[in-house]
C-alpha cells in the first residue's frame, strides 16, 4: 500500500514536469504549427542556468526567476532569425532546423559545463522529507505535484478568458483571417515561441533539484514530451495533462513492476493510441 502511494507520487511528480514541457510544445505547435525538436534542449538549458545561478548567488529562487527569461530571450532570436524564413516551406525543414539547434545546444552545454552530471539541492524551504505513513517522502516532489496543475490552470484560464488568449486561438484557427482583422501574426508568433521556451526552461529549472543535471537530459525529455503531446492530441491542454499523467505513471509503475520492458512502455502506448485514435485522445478527428 505504501509502495503503491510512493509510486503514485513519483509518477505524479515526473508527470507534472512532463506536463510543463509539453504545454510549451503543444502551445507552439497549436498556434504556429511548428514541431520544435529543440524544446528539450531549452528545458536542459533552463536546468543548467538554474544550477549556475545557485552557484553564483546561492539561491534557487533567483535562478527560477532569472534563468527562464534568458532562455526565452535566446529563443526569440532563434524564432526571428532562423525559424521565420522557413514558415512557407515544408514542415520537415522546421523539424530539421530545430534538430540542428538541438545538436548545437546539447554539445554547447557539454563545452561550457562539461559532460559530467551535476546535482542541485532543493531550496531550504522545500528540502528534507516529510513522514509518510511509516516511510518518508521528499518535500520537493510534493511541491512539483502541486505546482504542475496550478501552472496548467493558469495557462488554460489565460487562453480561455483573456483577450490575448482569444487572439492567439483565433490566429491558430485561421492565420490569414486574423491578419486581415489586424492581428500582427509574425510578432505574435515570436512572442508565443518565446513563451513556450520560457515554460520549457521553467520546467528545466524545476527539474534541476529533482534529477541530476546533465547533457543527455534534453534528449530524453523531448521524446517523452513528443509522446505526451501526440497521445493527448496536438495543441490540446487537457490532452497534454492526461498524456503527461499517463506517462508519469507508466514511468514509475513500469520501473517497479516491469523493469525489463519499462523503456518500451511509452512507445507501445504511443503506437496503440495512434493506431486507434490517429489524432490523439483529445484531438479533433481528421
Amino acid at each position: 500500500m505504501e509502495g503503491l502511494l510512493a509510486n503514485v507520487l513519483n509518477g505524479l511528480s515526473w508527470g507534472m514536469l512532463l506536463f510543463l514541457i509539453s504545454m510549451g510544445l503543444t502551445t507552439i505547435f497549436g498556434v504556429m504549427g511548428v514541431l520544435n525538436f529543440a524544446h528539450g534542449s531549452l528545458f536542459m538549458l533552463g536546468a543548467y542556468l538554474s544550477m549556475q545561478f545557485v552557484r553564483w548567488v546561492g539561491s534557487f529562487w533567483i535562478g527560477l526567476l532569472l534563468g527562464p527569461p534568458i532562455v526565452a530571450g535566446l529563443s526569440i532570436l532563434l524564432e526571428r532569425f532562423l525559424l521565420r524564413p522557413l514558415y512557407g516551406r515544408d514542415v520537415s525543414f522546421q523539424l530539421l532546423l530545430t534538430f540542428g539547434v538541438m545538436l548545437f545546444l546539447d554539445d554547447g552545454v557539454r563545452l561550457i559545463w562539461g559532460a559530467a552530471y551535476h546535482v542541485v539541492d532543493p531550496p531550504p524551504l522545500l528540502s528534507g522529507v516529510i513522514p509518510f505513513f511509516s516511510q518518508s517522502y521528499p518535500v520537493y516532489r510534493l511541491f512539483l505535484v502541486v505546482l504542475g496543475p496550478l501552472v496548467g490552470i493558469a495557462l488554460w484560464a489565460f487562453f480561455a478568458f483573456t483577450r490575448w488568449g482569444k487572439i492567439l486561438r483565433a490566429a491558430a484557427m485561421d492565420r490569414q483571417m486574423a491578419e486581415i482583422v489586424g492581428v500582427r501574426v509574425p510578432a505574435m508568433f515570436t512572442a508565443v515561441f518565446g513563451f513556450g521556451a520560457w515554460l520549457a526552461a521553467l520546467g528545466g529549472a524545476l527539474a534541476a533539484p529533482h534529477q541530476s543535471v546533465g547533457p543527455a537530459m534534453g534528449e530524453r525529455i523531448i521524446i517523452e514530451s513528443f509522446i505526451v503531446v501526440v497521445i493527448g492530441g496536438m495543441g490540446s491542454f487537457p490532452g497534454a495533462f492526461v498524456g503527461a499523467l499517463i506517462l508519469g505513471m507508466l514511468n514509475s509503475f513500469g520501473t517497479t513492476l516491469l523493469p525489463d520492458v519499462q523503456m518500451a512502455l511509452p512507445y507501445i502506448l504511443l503506437a496503440v493510441i495512434l493506431l486507434t485514435r490517429p489524432r490523439g485522445l483529445f484531438g479533433a478527428e481528421a
Partner: protein, 322 residues
C-alpha cells in the same frame, strides 16, 4: 525522365570507376573512411526512398538498420558461418520486420508517421538493449569472426581492408542500382505521385497504402543490409545502432546532400564523414559544428548541397525542373 536518366549515366559511371580505382591511390585510413561512407550511403539512400520519393519522414529507419546488424551477427554466431547466409538473414529479417511495422505505420502520414516510426524503432531498440541472453544487452554482440569469401576457389579474407572495401562497394552499388531501377520504373512514378497528392493517386485506382507499404519494406530490407555491413565493419552489433538518434543521422545526411537528387543522400554521407574526420581531428565537440552546419544548410541550401549544385549547373541549359 528517360532523357535525364540517360544523361546521368556518364557521371555515375565515372564515380563508379573512381571508387573501383580508389584502393590504388588512397591510404588504408582513407579507404576505411570510404568504406564507412559507402555503408552509410546505402542506409541513407534506402531512407530517401521513403522521404524523398514517397514523402514519408521515417524516424525509425535505424530500427531496421540495427535489426539487420543483429540478424547477420546472430546468424554468424549460431547459424551457418557463411557471409552470404548472414547477409540474406539481415535482408529477409528486416524485410519481415518492416512488413509488420510498415503495415501499421502507412495508415498515418506527416508528423504522425514520423512519431509512430520513431516509436517502433525504439521498441526494437529496447529489445536489443534489454534481451541480454540473446543480444548481449548494452554491450552488444561483438563475439564473432568474419568468415572469408570463397571466390572461384580462392579464399579471400575480409579482414583485409581492401577486400572488405570491395565487398561493401559491390553490395552498395547493387543496392543503389536496385533503388535506381525502382524509382525510374512506373512504380517509382506512383511513389512520387503519392508524395505529391495521395488522394489523386487513389482516385486513379492505386492502393496508396499498398504502394507505401512496398516502399517501406524495400527501404527496411536495404537498411538491414547496410546495417549488416556496418556490423561487419565495426566487428560489433550494438543497441545504439537502433536508437532514434541514429535514424536522425540518415535524415541529416539525406538533407545535407539533397533529398531531391537520387545520389544526394550518398553525397550527404560523404560530406558528413569527411567533415566528422576533419573536425574531430581538432576538437571533440563535433556535434556543435554539425548542428551549426545543419542550420546553415537548411536556410541557405534548400535543395541540399548536391541538389543545389546540380540545380545551378543545369539552370539555363534545360528548362524548368520536371
Amino acid at each position: 525522365m528517360r532523357f535525364r536518366a540517360r544523361g546521368d549515366v556518364v557521371p555515375v559511371l565515372l564515380i563508379l570507376l573512381a571508387l573501383i580505382a580508389a584502393p590504388f591511390f588512397l591510404s588504408i585510413y582513407g579507404l576505411i573512411v570510404l568504406t564507412e561512407i559507402l555503408t552509410m550511403s546505402l542506409f541513407a539512400l534506402s531512407f530517401n526512398l521513403l522521404f524523398g520519393y514517397t514523402g514519408l519522414l521515417s524516424f525509425g529507419q535505424a530500427g531496421f538498420f540495427g535489426a539487420g546488424a543483429y540478424f547477420a551477427v546472430l546468424t554468424l554466431i549460431h547459424g551457418p558461418g557463411s557471409l552470404w547466409a548472414a547477409l540474406a538473414a539481415a535482408v529477409i529479417g528486416s524485410a519481415v520486420l518492416a512488413a509488420v511495422i510498415g503495415w501499421l505505420c502507412v495508415r498515418l502520414d506527416e508528423i504522425y508517421f514520423a512519431i509512430l516510426t520513431l516509436g517502433f524503432g525504439m521498441m526494437l531498440f529496447t529489445i536489443a538493449h534489454n534481451w541480454r541472453s540473446v543480444t548481449g544487452g548494452s554491450d552488444g554482440l561483438g563475439n564473432f569472426t568474419l568468415p572469408g569469401l570463397n571466390l572461384f576457389g580462392h579464399d579471400i579474407s575480409l579482414f583485409h581492408p581492401v577486400s572488405f572495401y570491395f565487398l561493401v562497394l559491390l553490395i552498395a552499388a547493387l543496392g543503389a542500382l536496385l533503388l535506381w531501377r525502382v524509382v525510374g520504373s512506373p512504380f517509382g512514378l506512383l511513389l512520387r505521385g503519392t508524395r505529391e497528392n495521395s488522394l489523386r493517386v487513389s482516385f486513379v485506382g492505386a492502393n496508396v497504402r499498398a504502394v507505401r507499404l512496398f516502399a517501406f519494406i524495400l527501404a527496411g530490407a536495404l537498411a538491414g543490409l547496410a546495417g549488416a555491413l556496418f556490423a561487419f565493419f565495426n566487428r560489433i552489433a550494438s543497441p545504439e545502432m537502433l536508437h532514434w538518434s541514429f535514424s536522425g543521422k540518415a535524415v541529416l545526411m539525406t538533407i545535407l546532400g539533397g533529398s531531391g537528387v537520387f545520389l544526394g543522400p550518398a553525397a550527404g554521407a560523404a560530406i558528413f564523414f569527411v567533415l566528422e574526420h576533419v573536425i574531430t581531428a581538432y576538437t571533440t565537440n563535433w556535434m556543435i559544428f554539425l548542428g551549426a552546419i545543419l542550420v546553415v544548410l537548411v536556410l541557405a541550401f534548400p535543395g541540399g548541397v548536391l541538389g543545389s549544385l546540380l540545380d545551378r549547373l543545369t539552370r539555363g541549359r534545360k528548362g524548368p525542373p520536371a
